[in-house]
């Protein structure tokens, strides 16, 4: 087994049944697979949901994860996405501490990242941004010094570029 662990993107089509998320989460937890992020939502077909799961692991682990997932009756199809040929986006909401002194500087950073301000108060600013995972992390780093009060990230959703696709 090689020790080259890295992040892998799995796109998984599942039946839109109650409890599917719990089954997948349970499977990962039980077998010690580490989930970096997991998103799920319905697709163009309301009976099917797409999960985008980012996992840490080496090649052997990813193969086991994929095979164990396939054993779940509610899992229809799985594809491992190649990061280079994939569009991945994540959404973040960050609430930072903002006084009249620091507000302008924060707004400058927001503009540079082409993020949006979605809430303002005397002491806070709430920022929304969509982008690749590394861009999200960069914004978070830049805003740390102002004091991040609350932060909510969705985890990545991914689709392959061009004509490659995962569908029924």
């Amino acid at each position: 087994m090689d020790n080259n662990t890295s992040k892998h993107i799995l796109s998984v089509l599942v039946e839109n049944h109650a409890g599917v998320l719990s089954k997948v989460a349970g499977l990962f937890s039980r077998r010690g697979f580490n989930i970096h992020s997991l998103t799920v939502g319905t697709t163009e077909d309301k009976n099917i949901s797409r999960m985008t799961i980012i996992v840490d692991g080496d090649k052997h682990l990813i193969e086991q994860i994929t095979k164990q997932l396939n054993k779940l009756v509610d899992v229809i199809k799985i594809k491992q996405l190649n990061a280079e040929d994939t569009v991945s986006r994540e959404l973040i909401l960050i609430k930072v501490s903002a006084t009249s002194e620091t507000r302008n500087e924060i707004i400058q950073i927001v503009d540079i990242f082409r993020a949006k301000i979605v809430d303002i108060s005397e002491k806070t600013l709430t920022i929304e941004m969509t982008g690749k995972e590394d861009k999200i992390s960069a914004l978070t780093d830049m805003l740390k010094s102002f004091g991040i009060l609350e932060l909510a990230r969705t985890g990545s959703v991914s689709l392959e570029r061009g004509n490659q696709m995962l569908r029924l």
Binding site: H60, Q64, I76
Partner: protein, 529 residues
């Protein structure tokens, strides 16, 4: 008709003949419908036993066995039996009552989240949400339980659904798009394997439980004979050992035959058939530097524990035939046969020699002998020393190693095959875990034989504790007088304490046409497995 009647009608559509069960408040409506059905109910004395009996029935009959329990503690008592079936890929349907839909999630009386609790141990499970779903769920459950890699499926039915009225229509087709087991091996891969076989110097076949599941014993024996490739077996396939065949090198594993473990270590080309190759099976062997062909119906088992050179997903019987068809008929190989002589333990000492017991039993036993075992030293003695013939079968809890399996499994296999000669092998520890099922044996007039290896201890654990410091936990100091237990259940009993009376005692056991318990007093410090 109501949900219970729809349930029973659906089970009848699946040709179910028996249900092993235990009633409770939440599943009473099922029993009302069962009373009017042609399906026969076998009341066990505990739900774990019902699950073991149904799973063993499924393995023996090659159709899913069905067990039925009530909600809450009835359902949770099934879990051990379900997990046992899961680990050994037994086809099992578990039906549980549940509180009403409105009560779910409120910690109601006898409420348990059994679908959540059994997720790790079921191939799939259902919480019925509408009475009209029952037929489709039954059809899906039976197909899932008995195809691909077989396994347990649980169906949890809320009380109000059991009473709800609906029409009965049974689906013709099974359609789950996420379930497509593969039976035929990839032909390109088969070609590559055939080329590689020709280069092998020390080839070996590993015969696992999957061979039995696939009913591929004859195919494997022929394959081995035609190519002159010897085979070893795992515990689950111990009934494939043939001491009179030079090709059969014994059982591998932690408690395996040294000859088998040695053969596997030495092999450079291994064809693994229907085995998961767990650490328990390979720990006494060096698995490095080998070309490994792994044939299994479950792709997730291939490459999980051992790196594989030629993975083949498919049914063992079908794949072995595919390989055989591409190999020239005059092709044979050379190998050294095993020497079992040093493993035939010496008959000595004051106590009964357990290995000797099975050799005598093999001589005396009739056709269609079904041996079920519990878990412990006796299990290993049975697997390694009974000389199985083609009509004989071996049922044991290999994957989970569940004590309490032996007697209920005997009930299950006898029910599946009334003409089989069923012998349950137990230790005094495991016997006491399912002792209550003697009542089930009595009630159903099942002429099951039980051989009880009595050392007043948990022998296998005791052996793992050489300085005997844990005797407070491994010694069974307050065992009942088993002769009185047998008498309490009106079951014939005999006890032997030395090797002299052994052959006669075993003869009487084999020839009896009634339930029979033979207790054999063995050395509490017997370390020879």
């Amino acid at each position: 008709m109501n949900g219970s009647e729809i349930l029973l009608k659906s089970l009848e559509k699946e040709k179910v003949k028996y249900i092993f069960g235990y009633p409770g408040a939440a599943n009473i409506p099922v029993y009302s419908a069962l009373a009017k059905s042609r399906i026969k109910h076998i009341l066990t004395r505990g739900e774990q036993a019902a699950a073991h009996a149904a799973a063993a029935y499924g393995c023996a009959a090659s159709v899913p066995g069905v067990c039925l329990a009530t909600s809450g503690p009835g359902a949770t008592n099934l879990i051990t039996g379900i997990a046992t079936a899961y680990m050994d890929s037994a086809p099992l349907i578990a039906i549980t009552g549940q509180v009403t839909r409105a009560q779910i999630g409120t910690d109601s009386f006898q409420e348990a989240d059994i679908t959540g609790a059994t997720e790790p141990f079921t191939k799939h499970n259902y919480l019925v949400s509408d009475v009209s779903d029952i037929p489709k769920i039954i059809k899906e459950a039976f197909t899932l339980a008995n195809t691909g890699r077989k396994g347990p499926v649980l169906i949890d039915i809320p009380f109000d659904i059991l009473l709800a009225e609906s029409e009965f229509t049974y689906p013709d087709k099974f359609e789950i798009r996420g379930y497509k087991p593969k039976y035929k091996g990839n032909q390109m891969q088969i070609k590559r394997i055939v080329s590689a076989i020709k280069k092998a110097k020390h080839p070996l076949i590993v015969c696992g439980g999957g061979v039995l599941s696939s009913k591929g014993e004859e195919i494997l024996f022929d394959f081995s004979k035609n190519l002159n490739i010897p085979y070893v077996t795992t515990l689950m396939a111990a009934s494939c050992i043939r001491k009179d065949s030079p090709l059969s090198l014994g059982m591998i594993g932690y408690y395996g035959h040294p000859s088998a473990n040695e053969a596997l270590s030495k092999a450079d080309f291994v064809i693994v058939c229907g085995s998961r190759l767990t650490n328990r099976a390979t720990c006494k062997c060096d698995m490095n530097s080998k070309t490994i062909v792994h044939i299994d119906i479950d792709p997730a088992e291939i490459g999980k524990n051992v790196d594989v050179t030629f993975p083949v997903v498919g049914d063992v019987s079908i794949v072995l035939e595919q390989i055989k068809n591409l190999i020239p008929s005059d092709y044979t190989m050379n190998y050294a046969p095993a020497d079992f002589s040093q493993e035939d333990a010496e008959i000595s000492g004051d106590y009964i020699n357990p290995q000797y017991v099975f050799r005598i039993l093999s001589k005396l036993s009739k056709e269609n002998t079904y041996i079920t075992t519990d878990v412990g030293n006796h299990q290993i003695w049975a697997a390694k020393n009974f000389n199985f013939k083609n009509s004989d079968r071996f049922f044991t809890s290999g994957g989970l190693g569940t004590m309490g399996y032996g007697i209920p499994a005997a009930i299950g296999v006898k029910t599946a095959n009334p003409s089989a000669n069923v012998i349950a092998i137990c230790g005094d520890g495991s016997f006491q875990m399912s002792m209550a099922e003697l009542s089930t044996i009595k009630e159903n007039l099942l002429p099951i034989k039980i051989i009880l290896f009595d050392n007043s201890a948990l022998g296998m654990i005791k052996t793992l504790n050489p300085d005997n410091s844990l005797s407070f936990a491994t010694d069974l100091t307050s065992n009942p007088d088993f002769s009185k237990i047998a008498k309490a259940y009106s079951i014939e009993f005999n006890q032997i304490c030395d090797n002299n009376g052994l052959e006669n005692a075993l003869k009487k056991l084999v020839e009896s046409d009634k339930p029979y318990i033979l207790s054999l007093k063995i050395d509490p410090f017997n370390k020879n497995i």
